[in-house]
Symmetry: D3
C-alpha cells in the first residue's frame, strides 16, 4: 500500500499538525459537522408549545446527557384504591424522547390490585413481566385475548385496544411497559364514564348499565350529574 495522501506532511510538530489538519478538516467538511447535531434528535423544550409532532427542540448547545437520562424509575406507592401505581417516563417527564416514537413506564401492583380497563389512544403497549404474576388481556368485538404472565413473558396490546392488568399472584407484581409513542396518554375507562359530569341517564343509555349502577360508581370516581 502506498503512503496515504493524508500522511505526507511529516516534518510538522505533531500537536501543530493535528490542529492544522483539524482546522482544514472542519473548514472543508463544515456542512457535515454544523448540521449533524441539529436534527438527529430534538430534546423537548417543555416550556414552549406542543405541536402534532411533539414539542419544539431545545437549542442543541444547551442539551446535556441528563436530557437523555431519566432517574426515578422505581416502585411507585400502591397505597390507593387500585393497590397499584404507574410510574411514567413519557415526554413530559423525560424530554429526550421527544419526537422519537417510544417511551416507557413501570407498573407496580400490590397483591389483589389491578390496573383497570383503559386505553392508550393510538399507542401500542408492550408489557415485560419483571416480578410476580399478572393476568392481562385485551378484547376486540369478536375476540378475547387474555393470558397469565410470569417473569420471562412479554405481551403486546395493539394500539387503541381496551385492556387490563390484574395481579393474579400471591405477592406484589412488577412490569415494565414500552409504548410506540413519546406521549401515549392513558385513559382509565372508569374516569371516562364516571369521573365527570356526563348525566347518569346518558351514561346509562350509551352503556346499557342501570342508572343506579352508574350513580354508584360515579360516587366512587367523583362524577356528578
Amino acid at each position: 500500500m502506498p503512503i496515504p495522501h493524508y500522511l505526507h506532511t511529516k516534518s510538522i510538530h505533531p500537536s501543530s499538525k493535528m490542529k492544522m489538519i483539524h482546522v482544514l478538516f472542519l473548514f472543508a467538511l463544515v456542512s457535515f459537522t454544523s448540521h449533524a447535531s441539529v436534527n438527529d434528535f430534538c430534546v423537548a423544550d417543555l416550556k414552549g408549545p406542543d405541536s402534532p409532532s411533539g414539542y419544539q427542540c431545545k437549542p442543541p448547545n444547551t442539551v446535556t446527557v441528563d436530557d437523555f437520562v431519566f432517574s426515578g424509575f422505581v416502585a411507585g406507592n400502591t397505597t390507593n384504591t387500585f393497590n397499584a401505581a404507574l410510574t411514567s417516563a413519557f415526554v413530559t417527564d423525560f424530554p429526550g424522547v421527544n419526537g422519537l416514537g417510544v417511551s416507557v413506564a413501570r407498573l407496580d401492583i400490590a397483591k389483589g390490585g389491578s390496573i383497570p380497563m383503559h386505553t392508550h389512544p393510538a399507542a401500542t403497549e408492550l408489557l415485560i413481566m419483571v416480578e410476580g404474576q399478572i393476568t392481562a388481556g385485551f378484547m376486540t368485538p369478536t375476540a378475547l385475548y387474555t393470558k397469565t404472565l410470569k417473569p420471562g413473558d412479554i405481551m403486546v396490546f395493539p394500539q387503541g385496544q381496551l385492556h387490563f392488568q390484574v395481579n393474579s399472584g400471591n405477592g406484589k407484581a412488577t412490569a415494565f411497559l414500552a409504548f410506540s409513542s413519546a406521549n401515549p396518554g392513558a385513559q382509565l375507562l372508569d374516569l371516562l364514564l364516571f369521573g365527570n359530569t356526563l348525566p347518569s341517564d346518558l351514561v346509562a343509555q350509551t352503556t346499557f348499565l342501570d342508572v343506579a349502577q352508574v350513580k354508584k360508581v360515579k360516587a366512587r370516581f367523583g362524577g356528578r350529574g
Copy 2:
C-alpha cells in the same frame, strides 16, 4: 412569438401527423407514462392478504371507475336493539380507498336510539349532521366535550377517544362520518366488556361495576362466564 418547434412539420396529413407525434412522444417520455398509473393509487385486491399499510394493489390494467365508486350509501335498517344503523364505506366495502387514509360511513338513528360508547382505534372521526338532532360527546380523564348538533354542525372526535351519539330530537337523525383511515374499525364498549367470555368477576374487578350488573348486561350482549 416564433413558430414553436413542435409545429414545424406542416405538410403531413393531420391524422398521420398526430399518430407520428404521438408515437414519438410515447417513445421519448415512456417513463412518464409507464409508471404513472402504478403508484398514484392502489386499489385493494381484497382476495389477497392485508398488510400494515393496507391490501395489495389490483393490477392497474384491471382497475375500472367502479373501484372508485361505492353505491348503497343509503339509510340502514334501524329496527334493532339500538334503534340505529351504521353503513360503512371502509376499505373492505370500497377497495378504492386502500392506502389513502380516508373512509366514510353513514349513521341513521331512529327516535330514541343511540350509538353507544365506542372507539375507533387510532382513527379520528368527523361527524357531519344531515338531518334531525344528535347529542354527541367524547371524554378524556380530565374533561368532557359534549354538544347537541343540528344540520349545519360538524363535530370531530380525535383518534382513539371513547365517544357516543344519541338522537336527542323528536324524529330520525342522520349523519355522515369521515374517518382518517381506510379501515378505522369500530369497537362498541358493550361488546368488549360484555360480549365475550371474560369472567364476570374479572370484568367487575377491572371496571368497578357490581358483579350482578356485569352478569345482567352480559346476558344482553351474549357474553358468558
Copy 3:
C-alpha cells in the same frame, strides 16, 4: 368472589370516602391523568406559526367543546362565474382538526355549474352525493375514470389527481367532501395557468395551447403578461 379490596372501608361517610379515595387515586396514578389531555389531541393555536405537522397546540386548559365543533356547514352562495360554492371546514376554519389528518367541505353547484379542473396537493378527496346529480372524474396519463353520481353514491379521487365535478342534473346539486388532510388546499387549474403573470408565450409553450386562447382565458381569470 371475595370482597374486593377497594370496598373494605365501610364505616366512612360516603361523600368523605369518595373524596379520600379520589385523592388517593389521583396521587398514585397522577401520570395517567396529568398527561392524558396533553397529546391525545392538539387544537390549533391559529395565532401562532404553522409547521410541517400543523399548528402549535392551544394550552389544553383553554380548549372547549367549541374547538371541536364547526357551525355554518350550510349551502354557499352559487351566484358566481362557476355557479358553484365550496364551504370548507379545514384547519384554518376549524382548529380542532389540527394534526388529525382529516377535514371536510360542502359543495353546492347550481344547475349548469361546475367545479372546474383542480387538484389537492397530496390529499385524497372522497365525495358523498347528497342531492341532485354530479358527473365527476379524474384522469391519469393512461386512463380516464368518470361517473355520473346520484344520492347514495360515493366517489374517491386519489391524492394529487386532477379532477372535476359538473352538475349534470336538472336542479341544484349538493355533495359533502372528506379529505385525508387537515389542510388539503385546492388548486384550480385555471388560476394556476391563467390567474397570474406567467407570460402567455410561456403558458402556450408548456401547455400546447394557442397564445390567443391563453390570452383570452387570462382575461377571464385576471392574469397578465
Copy 4:
C-alpha cells in the same frame, strides 16, 4: 328516566330475548363487527414475504393470544467473546408486534463484558436498567453523551446513533431495551468493518486506522482481504 326503548319487550323468555336481540344487533351493525378484527392489528405471517411496512397479516381467524405473547425473555448465555448476550423480541421472534412500531430486547452483560459500538438503523433505543451498573453513551460529531447507569435509571439513544454499553460494575448487569420499530436491526461496528471481505487497504483508507491494526481485528471477526 323513561323506560329505555331497548327494554320494551318484557314478555319474552330471557334467553330467547337475548338471542333475538343479539341477532338483530349483529344484523344492523354488521359493519362494526365484521371489520373490527381486520385492521386493528396485523399479526405477521412469517412464512410470507416482508414489505416496507412489515409482513403480511395472518388471517384474523387464525390469530390466538399466543401471537401476542413472547416467552423466553430470560437471561442469555454470556459465555462468549463479549461476555454479553442480547435476547430479542423483534417481529421475526414475536409476530404480534408486526406493524406496531415497537419491540423489546433483554441485555445481559457479565462482569467485564460489553456490547460494543453499534447502531440500529432508524430505530431509537431506550434502555431500562434492571440490575448492576452499565456505563453507556452515544456520540454525535460535536458532542459526547455518556452516563453510568444504575437500577432506576433509563437512557435513550436517538435513532441511528452509534452507541455502546459497558458493564462498569462489580457483578453481572441486566437491562431491558425498548425500540421504536418492530424490527430495529442491530449493526455491530466491528462486524461491519472487520467481518467481511472489504480489502484491508480500503478499510484503512476510510477509517484512518493502520493497515496492520485492521488486519489484526479482521482476524478476530472473521474478515478476509
Copy 5:
C-alpha cells in the same frame, strides 16, 4: 488498563482461535446478525404485487449489489415533439429504492424544448442544474414562483404542485431530479386533459377553454370525443 477478557486465551493457534471465537460470537449474538439483513432495506420483488407502502421484499439472500446500482443514467433521446427526454430511476426501474422514499431522474432538453406543465402526485421534486439554462416554475392559486437556472443552481418544487421546465438557453440543457418518493409518478397536463376520451364539451366546461381549442390540442395528443 487490565488485559481485556477477550485476549486471555493466548496459546491457541490464531486461525483456530479466530474460528472458535467467531462461533461463540455468532452463537451468543445470533439475534443481532440474523435479523440485521431482514429489514434494514427491502429490495423490490417487481414480479410480485405492489402495496401502499411499496413492493414486497426480495429474499435477502438473493439480493446483490446490483440491486442497489442503476446503470444507464445517460442522456435520453430528445428527437420528439417536446425536444426533451426524461430518464427515470424509479422503483420500477431500480428495485433497490423500494420503500426508501427517494428516487431520481435525468432531464435532457434540446434547444427550444421543454417539459410541459405536469405534477407528481404527492412527491416533491428537487432539480439540480447540470448544463445549459432552464427557466422553471410552479404556481399556487395566489403566487407564481419562477426562476432562470444555470449550473450551480437548485430549485425545489413542493409536492403536488403544477410545474414546468423550459430550455431558455442557446444549447442543450441537462438537469438531475431528486424525488421524495420511490415512485413519484408524473402526470403531463396535456395528457390528462387531451389524451383520453373525456368529451371536448366537458373539457371546455371544466377548463374555460374554447371547444375548438380543446379539439385542436386533442388531435395532437391522441384524444377523442
Copy 6:
C-alpha cells in the same frame, strides 16, 4: 354545445367584466384561494425553533422564489485531510425544503481522496456519478455491497447504513447526492470514535482496537482522554 353560463353577459366592457367576474369568483370560492398557499409548502423560518417535523413556516406572504432556489451548488475546496469536499443543500442551507423529505448535496473528491466511513441517521442516500470514478459501498453484519461507479451509474445506500466513497480513478471525481430527509445529518465514524473525550480505554474496549491505535487516531481527529 349550448353557450356556457359563464359567457352570458356579452354587453359588458371586457375589462370591467373581467374584474367583476374575478371578484365574484374570489368571493364565492374564497376558501379555495385563502388556504391554498398556507400548507402546500412550509418554508423554514430558520430564526425560530426546530421541531420533530422541521422548522416553523415563514409567513406565506413573505415567501419568494428565492426561498425555493439554492445557488452555490459548485465544487467545494478539496485541499484538506480527506482531499474531498461535501457541499450540502440541507434545510439549514436551503429553507424551501423544510418538511418536504428531500435534500441534496454535492461531493467532490480529488485524486486519492475519499469520504470516510459515515452514516446518515435515518436517511437514505442516493449517489449520482457525474465525473470520474468512485468505489463506494455499504455493509450489513452479514453482507458487503461494493461497486466501482462511473458517470451514468447511480447507487443507493439505505437508511442508517455505514458507507464510504473512495476516488478510485485517475482524476477528480464528482457526484450528486439525494437524501430522503430535509436534514439528513452526516456522522463521520472517525469523529464519533476519535474526535471527542471518550476515554481511549473505553473506545478500545468497545471497538476491539488497540489502545495505542486509538490514541494515534485520536491525535489526528482532535480527541482527548
